[in-house]
Amino acid sequence: MRQGFLVLAGILLFAGHLAAQSYSISGTVIDGQSRSVIQGATVRAPQLDQAVTTGADGWFELRNLPSGLIRIQIRHLGYVPVDSLISVSGNVRITLEMTPQVFDLGSITIEDQAIQSDLLTQTPLSTVYIPQSRLRQSVRLGGEPDPVRFIQSIPGVKTESDFSGGYSVRGGRNDQNLILFDGMPVYSPWHLFGLFSAFNSQSVSGLEFSKGIFSPRYGSRISSVLHLYATDGSRSKGLDELNIGMVSSSLTAGTPYSKKGSIFVSLRRTYMDPFLAAFDRDEQEIDQRTTYYFHDLSAKLKHTWSPKWESDMLMIYGKDRFGYRTVESYSNLFNSGIGDFEDFRERKNTGLMWENSGISARTRYKGEFWSMEFQTYFTRYQSESTDDSDFMLDFQLTEKVLFGSQILTQITRENRDYQLQKQFDQDIQDLGGRIRMTWKQDDSFTFDAGIESIRHWFTDRGTLNEQTVITSDQITLGYPAVDLVTDQYLSRLVSIDLTSQETAVHAGVSLNYTRLSVYPGLRMEHYSHGNHVKLLPRVNAIYRLSSKWSMTAGYGMFRQYVQAVGIDLLQVPVEKWIWSSPSIKPMDGRTFTLGTRMVLNENLTLTVEGYQREFRNLLSLDPVELYAAVGGTGTFVPVYRDITVAGEGRAMGIENSIEWRANRLSGRFSYALSHSQNRFQNINNNQWFDSRTDSRHDFSSDMLYRFHRAWIGGAQFRFKSGQPVTLAYSAYDRIDDPLNIGHEFDNPALIWTSKHNHRLPDYHRLDLFVTWQSRPYRGYATDITFSVINVYNRFNVLAINTTTTIFNTNVETSVRPKHRFLGQLPVFPMLSIRIHSPS
């Protein structure tokens, strides 16, 4: 820190005169203790209303500065703020140091312009950057903060339930969100059936989330971009951090080497296995075992070849496996002495596995005007679900029978074997590469262009085998057995092997004038399976009415070639991915945004943004197929057939947010008013209906408060209107057999008139946490965090299970309405310990 001030003082001493020319201040922001670069720090020149964010290499640059004394403010969560005066008489290059703070009180911030991030630059109202230090200061559901869960508190982002990791953005669907880990796409990155994301928070140095008109260099999804930046080892010192939670623990280690690079490794493993093992039963008649575990790994190697060239390599791996096996068997002896018996054995075996893996290599060049990036990656997502059951009955009965005039002993033996095997496997492999180049002439003009190509390999197997074998024989005088094979139903329902190529070129410019910034761009895509070609224009504009008040507007078209259909309720890895083809059109989206931002005072900022969106060619399961998939066979693993219906969607809303940042207290209130609808063939009589995640009112607040040097507390409150569900209000005498081909009954049945005709009760929940941090001891400090989720134990309804019974007697109809509400997370205390090297 002292060195930093000396540098600044030196610059001040040599400040000579003011000139009419424009100059720049550039340099690197580093950690004063570890000497590592700081990514995501805000460098602001408040007099000139300019601000930039340091990139991954800590680099920043302020341009078009007048000569004279320029006041510079540097802010970064977890560091003591720096305010300096710099005398500018020419282009200045400096290194600025920041001192780590024991606790950081930052909230979710919507940063201003950033050099590295066109998401932040072009859509400042729709984009949020969250550094790792802020992630650490949040409620910890599984004992450690979850990067993806964190964004679910952002206005415009909605979840199905407390248990689902997926999220929908501004009326979109979960499968419309692009998730990148250091530029590498990741499919379905969830642990524990969606309760946690597959990204260990230590492996994420920060995340950037954009829900607006994102840059044309992003494609493949139509609703949002979540870019997670991988941690590198430049700030680590060997064993860096140990996180102990109630569900899992993680260990991270990293180190710089030879001043040229760094290496970083992070591991996480759950220890739910022994917990579940406590419920296993190993008894004479019942053998029941449940297994579940997940683990993930990320590793990053970063090397700086020269001040202009650097490379990194990233590897990720995550896996979940769930298994439930039960064997019930018993023997029943009767007519003892003759040897008659009845043996029964039922075996069930259910298994789920899903796995994410990927490897990426990237090289970056950063010159004075040119910067380039080359990346190639291979990523894979696999899911397997199996459900086998086997029911066997052995029976033997000895009888005396009359055979002509003789009485014979007849032994009847029968073996019944009912087998049901269901398997549903999917495998997605992507091999991709991209080249991006940026030419920045000055602050007023930047040109960005690139090319990207992804080879997709997709395999889908859905199998249903059902068979009943009855073997029966009657042993009298040696007559042979009779075998009957009945109910034999063998069918491979789905078998898809698809290879396709997705290619895109994109270009965009950044035009900055005194009051107006415009970011037009164009993306052209080609998808080989079906030869789909599309031109996708996007534009964002920011108009600054004053230094504290700006207006924004945007328009964009988006397209994606894969959709995930499945059961709405739970984000389990049994959703089915469907790729575009000559007959299945790609999903298209169109978005328009309009917003404003006002800095009310130094600590208070108000943002308002409205949007209107349209979706085309959405796919959904045919309703009868959905019934057949989940209900028809009555088992856990759905069996899908390739029968979908196409539809569309529309959404509109307005999001308001007010943020404040004071010395000890920081936080944010946000409110979103929105409405989203869908329409599908053969569903709801082809009429529009409210989408599953449509919650009209959505209010959330986050607060952080430091009440002692070693203590920090936080609160998060969320309210949203109840989600729509489908409920039957009436019933009728459904005739089971109107064709009169069997039996005719008047069997009362519920009437389902329209989809999503009922609303669940409103959802609200308060989460609290408090963290205590020890002083460093032998180079390590300890944080102990106590979180309480759903403090006042609000019963938030997840779903309604209707078990209304209606039956007819000869003269009367009896109606017993019964609804059971299934709840989401009840009050849930969690304790976690973090041992880490001070940073």
Partner: protein, 312 residues
């Protein structure tokens, strides 16, 4: 101790996630119309009922006859769109019982090309529906059995299901003749029901034919649903013939199958596949502003002779 503690914790968590509640919403008033117009059959009786409430806090009962409407206004019309000029024939009906309307022109038969439309008005509610006779091509129906499997001898007693209460009568010795019958029909309809029957009864020492699924219920129809990717209905049935052991080969007559095929309108496929209790976006019906099945259908009966084979 560990298992006990974890069980208590898990049970407490599970219990706190389930809550009984009730929903009390007024019933959606609507009419229920049911009738099936079978080709070449007399015009059917039209049944008119109304829906009733299924929500509330407490159980309740009511007289089920209250669901039949009384004094509804029923307008039944028929016309042949293939024979211009299209003249609409108004068919008068009479309410023979509350909610049951019989067409007065009893001599009329349901015709292939005719459309039948009904509009019912009762107590401020109006519902309408239209029935059409689906296309049915008997030539497209193919029955074959080229998979004769075995002939064996055994004693037959309580052979079918030892757990069944109603056992077939005791027979000393039988030849068991097993074959497999395939039925195939290519059509544009979405649903077909098939019933196998036989003209031979199991009496004494006469031959008897039974089918695998008939073990439980001899009158069971097999319901076939069209697979969109393969517009052909296929059904395979195992057929078992029983002949008295002492019967000479010359006396063994070929068995004759009776196959009854029913093809209704497509909407029936969704109706039949859902039992009404499962949560679906909408109750399958072709009645506007109401529920029920007001459809056309074709019923056909085909006889097929299974040749007799004897394997040494």
């Amino acid at each position: 101790m560990r298992q006990w503690l974890t069980s208590v914790l898990l049970a407490a968590t599970a219990l706190s996630c389930v809550q009984e509640s009730y929903v009390d919403v007024p019933a959606q008033r609507m009419l229920q119309l049911d009738a099936v117009f079978y080709l070449n059959a007399p015009l059917p009786i039209i049944e008119v009922r109304h829906a009733f409430k299924a929500t509330g806090e407490d159980p309740f009962r009511f007289n089920r006859n209250e669901r039949w409407t009384l004094g509804a206004k029923v307008e039944l019309r028929a016309w042949d769109p293939t024979a211009p000029p299209v003249d609409t024939l108004t068919i008068a009906t009479t309410e023979i019982q509350p909610g049951r309307f019989r067409p007065l022109q009893t001599s009329l038969r349901v015709m292939q090309t005719m459309h039948y439309e009904v509009t019912v008005t009762w107590d401020g509610l109006t519902a309408s529906a239209k029935a059409r006779i689906p296309r049915y091509d008997p030539i497209g129906l193919q029955i074959s059995n080229d998979d004769t499997r075995f002939v064996r001898r055994s004693i037959f007693r309580n052979f079918i299901d030892p757990t069944q209460v109603e056992s077939p009568p005791l027979v000393d010795t039988l030849d068991i003749y097993a074959s497999r019958v395939d039925i195939q029909y290519t059509a544009s309809s979405a649903f077909m029901a098939v019933q196998f029957g036989t003209d031979h009864e199991f009496t004494g020492y006469n031959k008897y034919i039974y089918f695998d699924r008939d073990l439980v219920n001899p009158s069971t129809y097999s319901n076939l649903y069209l697979d969109e990717r393969n517009p052909t209905f296929k059904l395979t049935r195992d057929v078992f013939g029983l002949y008295p052991y002492l019967t000479s080969i010359e006396e063994r007559e070929p068995a004759t199958l009776r196959v009854v095929v029913v093809v209704p309108e497509d909407i029936y496929a969704d109706y039949a596949r859902t039992d009404g209790d499962f949560l679906l976006p909408a109750t399958p019906t072709n009645v506007k502003n109401g529920v029920g099945m007001f459809i056309g259908a074709v019923r056909d009966t085909v006889y097929y002779e299974i040749p007799f084979f004897l394997t040494p």
